[in-house]
């Protein structure tokens, strides 16, 4: 029986991974059509217009003179071999170089922020549920809803004003990897929104669990409240939180560019805004495909984790 379960799960994972292909293809097609339908090209951005002959050469060099369907197929073929093409605006670098430089920065920042968000969010949510309808509950709920209502760029600005400009505790911007104090402000600012979302979900699900029959049974067996909470309640209460954290983590990765822009963090998000205004087609396509894959894989991981945590769900 164990065998059939594992092969079942293996086939399921395989099917889900194969589903990635049409999803990414659809994302590619949509993005390709939209950016090519947008008037203006990558070479018309400078102050003075590019001479026609140079324009022609540039288009030839980057394959922009071929028919659109040809460009569509060619780029798709290159991407399937892992080649995302050259950047249009940074002539000496390829998209893979740029993503290789910037994505790890966004990923590190996102993971630190997510770690903060998990600890703070689950902590606040649990406290709120255990002290249901007390001042502490209202306070944590208010903090959570404030976190959902304040954009990250405002938080960064306020933290810079307070911690960097007034008390000179940390620098006012930049990036030096995980071990520098420069990560503090962007990570905290980025963590606030996911922390608030996780706190709200944890509180709601914890309240549900606390009124469940098995918790009453555990209490009436004479278990100490501490064991009831840690051994019975939290484990079950965290189920929906796992689902949400996957989606929230994808949000953190794809939404980091406000924080990156304000705090001058050289991540992928900051680059994306630049590539949009400069019509750097390969960079736009590469970024959207990469982040689309991140979101899909996060969803897949969540779906795979779920039956492991909750044996009632069969695949």
């Amino acid at each position: 029986m164990g065998d059939s379960v594992t092969t079942g799960r293996g086939a399921y994972i395989l099917r889900r991974l194969l589903l990635l292909i049409p999803t990414l293809l659809a994302i590619y097609t949509l993005t390709f059509l939209l950016i090519h339908a947008t008037p203006g090209g990558p070479w018309s951005q400078g102050e003075k217009p590019v001479p026609p002959i140079v324009l022609k050469r540039l288009n030839e060099a980057y394959g922009l003179d071929t028919p659109l369907w040809r460009q569509y197929v060619d780029y798709l073929w290159n991407v399937s071999r892992g080649d995302f093409g050259p950047s249009f605006t940074q002539r000496s670098r390829t998209v893979s170089d740029i993503i290789g430089d910037t994505f790890p920065v966004s990923l590190k920042l996102g993971m630190v922020a997510m770690a903060i968000a998990l600890v703070v969010g689950i902590g606040l949510g649990t406290i709120g549920a255990l002290k249901h309808n007390t001042g502490i509950d209202y306070l944590t709920s208010f903090v959570a809803i404030l976190g959902v209502s304040t954009p990250s760029y405002v938080i960064v600005s306020l933290l810079v004003l307070l911690l960097a400009s007034t008390f000179h505790l940390v620098p006012t911007g930049g990036w030096d990897g995980l071990s520098s104090t420069k990560i503090l402000i962007p990570a905290v600012a980025l963590a606030l929104y996911p922390a608030a979302v996780l706190a709200r979900y944890t509180r709601a699900s914890m309240l549900d669990v606390l009124s469940a029959d098995y918790v009453r049974t555990a209490r009436s067996k004479g278990l100490r409240e501490y064991s009831v909470i840690t051994r019975h309640a939290i484990r079950n209460a965290l189920l929906p939180v796992v689902t949400v954290s996957g989606i929230v983590f994808a949000d953190v990765i794809t939404g980091s560019f406000f924080v990156e822009t304000v705090y001058s963090v050289p991540g992928l998000g900051r680059y994306f805004v630049k590539s949009i205004t400069e019509r750097d087609y390969p960079v736009i396509l590469g970024t959207v495909l990469l982040l689309g894959a991140v979101i899909s894989i996060m969803n897949l991981i969540v779906d795979l984790l779920y039956p492991l945590l909750d044996p009632r769900i069969e695949r």
């Binding site: 049409p22 999803t23 659809a26 994302i27 949509l30 993005t31 939209l34 950016i35 339908a37 947008t38 008037p39 203006g40 809803i145 404030l146 959902v148 209502s149 304040t150 954009p151 760029y153 405002v154 600005s157 306020l158 810079v160 004003l161 400009s165 709601a204 309240l207 794809t254 939404g255 560019f257 406000f258 822009t261 304000v262 994306f272 805004v273 949009i276 205004t277 736009i284 970024t287 959207v288 982040l291 689309g292 979101i295 899909s296 969803n299």
Partner: protein, 327 residues
């Protein structure tokens, strides 16, 4: 409206879709009950009043004020709050209070119009998928799944750039009319369409799930037995029973639309200056943050408080419209 002197009502209100007979032999409908429950939620009711106040200010103040959002006074550049400029002036000598009020117009209309777009697109799609089932449902939900995998903020930006570029290239025909409207409203049409096109997914999912469970119910069966066609069943039986869910979903969608507009304008891709948006005002304040923090504080507070109010109101509406939920 429910009368104040009927406290017994809490015990009787079991199923508000069935009109409840009050001791005073008054009939309370579903929406009446919901309003009464909403009014008892002080936070949600205060939020509703706050939103109405902001909306009134956004409508009335520009009519009464002598200056407007683009008026510059170079004698008072970057001055803190004073008698003549209660929230101070910005880097171009424009009155921050006036710009804040015009920003409220933008935020509120974005919140509402985007929800209208979402309702018009998402509700029929979700209902069709849920009611038809089978292959239609599978096809629609596949599409929704693919769109869910899109990095939505990036996509809003791509759609907005496309719309902005198309509008700027002076198109003819119907596009020309829309482009004209867009430039007259300071780029708002692009914001509405871009946000609306990307955010109908959640509403479609909610309506689909609701429709799927409702179409099994006896009253739908009865309507079918009486000879109602698909159209009539959908418009007379399924839609009215889904309205509550739609109202809650759209109210909770307003704050996220407001935040997304602010974010896009913050990046300089939303409204076209000199039209103010709270996001744009915040981004203009950041270079002056140290010396002139008030330039940031006012628009940031306005944005947070408005979003906060819509969140409270949405939560309150959910509780009021869903009396079966205990919390």
């Amino acid at each position: 409206m429910a009368s104040r002197n009927a406290p017994v009502i809490t015990a009787v209100a079991a199923d508000p879709r069935v009109a409840v007979a009050l001791p005073s032999s008054r009939i309370e409908g579903f929406w009446g009950g919901a309003f009464r429950r909403l009014r008892r939620n002080r936070l949600a009711f205060a939020s509703a009043i706050f939103i109405v106040a902001i909306a009134l200010a956004a409508i009335l103040v520009p009519m009464l004020a002598s200056t407007t959002y683009a008026d510059q006074d170079y004698d008072v550049v970057k001055q803190g709050p004073s008698r003549s400029h209660i929230m101070g002036t910005d880097q171009l000598g424009r009155d921050i209070f006036i710009r804040l009020i015009f920003g409220a117009r933008i935020s509120l209309t974005v919140g509402i119009v985007v929800q209208l777009v979402i309702t018009v697109v998402g509700v029929p799609i979700g209902m069709l998928a849920g009611y038809a089932g089978g292959k239609t449902d599978t096809a629609i939900m596949r599409l929704v799944d693919v769109l869910y995998a899109l990095p939505s903020l990036l996509f809003v930006i791509i759609i907005m750039t496309f719309l902005r570029g198309t509008f700027d290239s002076k198109p003819g025909g119907i596009w020309g009319v829309i482009a004209d409207l867009d430039s007259k409203t300071g780029g708002l049409v692009g914001v509405y369409v871009g946000l609306g096109l990307i955010s109908w997914l959640t509403v479609a999912r909610i309506v689909r799930a609701n429709t799927m469970s409702l179409k099994q119910k006896e009253f739908v069966e009865a309507a079918r037995g009486l000879g109602s066609g698909h159209r009539r069943i959908m418009s007379r039986h399924l839609l009215p029973n889904t309205i509550a869910a739609i109202v809650v979903a759209t109210t909770l969608g307003i704050p996220s639309a407001i935040l997304t507009e602010a974010g896009i304008s913050f990046l300089g891709l939303g409204v076209i200056p000199p039209m103010p948006s709270w996001g744009l005002m915040i981004s203009e304040a950041i270079p002056n943050l140290r010396a002139h923090p008030y330039m940031l504080i006012f628009p940031a507070a306005a944005l947070s408080l408005t979003v906060l109010a819509f969140n409270f109101l949405g939560d309150g509406l959910r509780d009021a419209l869903d009396p079966w939920m205990k919390r």
